[in-house]
């Protein structure tokens, strides 16, 4: 006996679903469709906060994520990095310090610096920006680093003595940074622990760093919302869709923008299958009763 349409709707072979997911991800990546990307206010406030850094301000840039979440965190990091260097080109007094409390995150930062033509070989390295690399020991590391930068990050990412970098020479503690630069913005791109709660405990309260923006994976966003509510952080770039919005804001469409089409398509595919399954289910139920 062959199956009725309703039964088929209720019992779609999972391979069909898998194949459609694969196609709907691949197709927009090859042939972008340019579906609309509405900007959430929470993303816009992050963008505005970065743009608002004045000439002579300081940006602390922490990459706290691993390779596993690079699909989401990678475009976020890339967006921020393009923006801060653009900003520095417009306002030459801005100084940037890169570091990270996850080892893999700092490797990714380094790759992106290279892609931007920055990093070790750049003559400006050490003068207008520095890359301190990985700081171990998670939350303890945050506390120790803030109290004594030159001991915890004795060498930068490239093995230079941190004291030889003109930018870092006089910045011995986080307090020095806060005292020397009136406007300190802290950017963290993160996917877990250690992450924002640790920064709030170790840095925000003791050193009074008020301007914090966060980019995180969609799974961690709900955990960030309370801090936005209390004003402890300015805003959140939420997962891949947040990264895509950010690319629209900085007018540099990239990986995330290409990915959003795929994101929209697959989400609607899942919804479509849920609807199909339920139609089939209710039709069958109606039949059984009659």
């Amino acid at each position: 006996m062959s199956k009725s349409v309703w039964e088929r709707m209720m019992d779609v072979d999972r391979r069909v679903i898998y194949l459609l997911v694969f196609i709907l991800i691949m197709w927009p990546l090859v042939q972008p469709m340019g579906l609309p990307v509405p900007i959430a206010s929470i993303t816009k406030s992050v963008y505005d906060a970065v743009e608002a850094v004045p000439d002579g301000g300081m940006i602390l840039f922490s990459a706290d994520h691993g390779f596993a979440s690079i699909g989401e965190n990678g475009p976020q990091l890339w967006g921020f990095m393009q923006q801060v260097f653009d900003l520095q080109a417009r306002k030459p007094g801005i100084r940037i310090i890169f570091f990270g409390f996850w080892m893999e995150g700092t490797l990714i930062t380094d790759t992106y610096l290279k892609n931007l033509g920055k990093g070790r070989a750049d003559p400006n390295y050490g003068k207008t920006y520095a890359n301190l690399g990985w700081i171990p020991l998670a939350e303890t590391g945050m506390a120790v680093w803030a109290a004594d930068i030159h001991r915890t990050s004795a060498k930068d990412m490239y093995g230079n003595d941190i004291g030889t970098l003109p930018l870092m020479k006089d910045l011995k503690t986080l307090k020095d940074i806060v005292d020397k630069y009136p406007h300190v913005l802290f950017i963290t791109v993160e996917s877990g622990t250690p992450g924002l709660p640790e920064f709030l405990r170790q840095w925000q309260e003791p050193y009074n760093i008020r301007k914090i923006v966060v980019a995180c994976t969609a799974v961690s966003t709900p955990g960030m919302m309370p801090y936005v509510g209390t004003g402890q952080i300015i805003g959140v770039v939420d997962g891949l869709s947040g990264a895509a919005q950010y690319e629209v804001l900085i007018r540099k469409p990239g990986e995330a923008s290409a990915g959003t089409d795929a994101l929209s398509m697959t989400h609607f595919l899942v919804i479509a299958f849920v609807v199909i399954g339920n139609i089939g289910y209710f039709a069958m139920k109606g039949r059984k009763v009659s």
Partner: protein
């Protein structure tokens, strides 16, 4: 059985160390601070020593596999080869003149060996990321299968799930901005409250299981089957 082989001794050790950790946290005894940090490194070192157990266990499964030509035995070969290869070239070795990019440390780290790096970046990382990404397919089929309004409760689950999908898809919020608000509310209120309620229960469960372990009655620890 000799007295020193009795199960009570390890259990007593467990209890002593657990009580020490609790005491050290709540009572301000400065002399204990270095002891505790040493103890934590101790535990870390002992954990690392256990690694060889895994290695041996793998050998115990896969060497007989190959020798007795069990089903799927050929697959044990690449496993063993890569395992030995990475372990051996990854061992720290002494380099009199370390390459500059490895920093100035005299110990050139085995895992910075170019072959090791090559295998890590081109075998382990892509395989890891791709196995992780299988979840994209699985989550779609799981949603199709599970989001079905069989009961009122299942309908609530379905509704919340679909509304979240509409919030997260850029196209969803492009259709109606309200989806963003609904999604934010669902995550901010019911999801948070549910997680909080469950977390409170988990705290109580942890204490109960802790006490059972301390008095040596926990089935999951040493007392198995008994």
């Amino acid at each position: 059985m000799a007295w020193y082989k009795r199960m009570e001794i390890p259990i007593a050790i467990t209890t002593v160390f657990a009580l020490y950790m609790i005491f050290e946290y709540f009572f301000n005894v400065p002399a204990l601070k270095p002891v505790t940090s040493s103890l934590l490194v101790f535990v870390e070192i002992m954990g690392v020593f256990a690694l060889g157990l895994g290695f041996i266990s793998i050998l115990m499964v896969h060497v007989p596999n190959i020798r007795k030509k069990r089903l799927y035995w050929p697959y044990s070969i690449p496993l063993l080869i890569l395992m030995f290869f990475l372990t051996i070239i990854g061992l720290p070795t002494w380099a009199p003149t370390p390459p500059k990019e490895y920093g100035t440390s005299l110990w050139i780290l085995g895992y910075l060996h170019p072959w090791f790096q090559f295998l890590y970046l081109n075998v382990i990382v892509p395989a890891d990321a791709t196995i992780f990404s299988l979840l994209a397919f699985f989550i779609a089929s799981a949603a199709y299968r599970a989001f079905r309004a069989r009961t009122k409760e299942a309908a609530a689950l379905l509704l919340a799930g679909v509304l979240m999908l509409l919030k997260n898809a850029p196209l969803g919020t492009a259709i109606w901005m309200g989806f963003a608000d609904i999604g934010t509310w669902l995550i901010g209120i019911p999801n948070m409250a549910c997680m909080r309620g469950i977390t409170i229960g988990i705290a109580l469960g942890t204490i109960a299981i802790g006490i059972r372990t301390l008095i040596g009655r926990e089935t999951g620890y040493f007392r198995g089957g008994g």
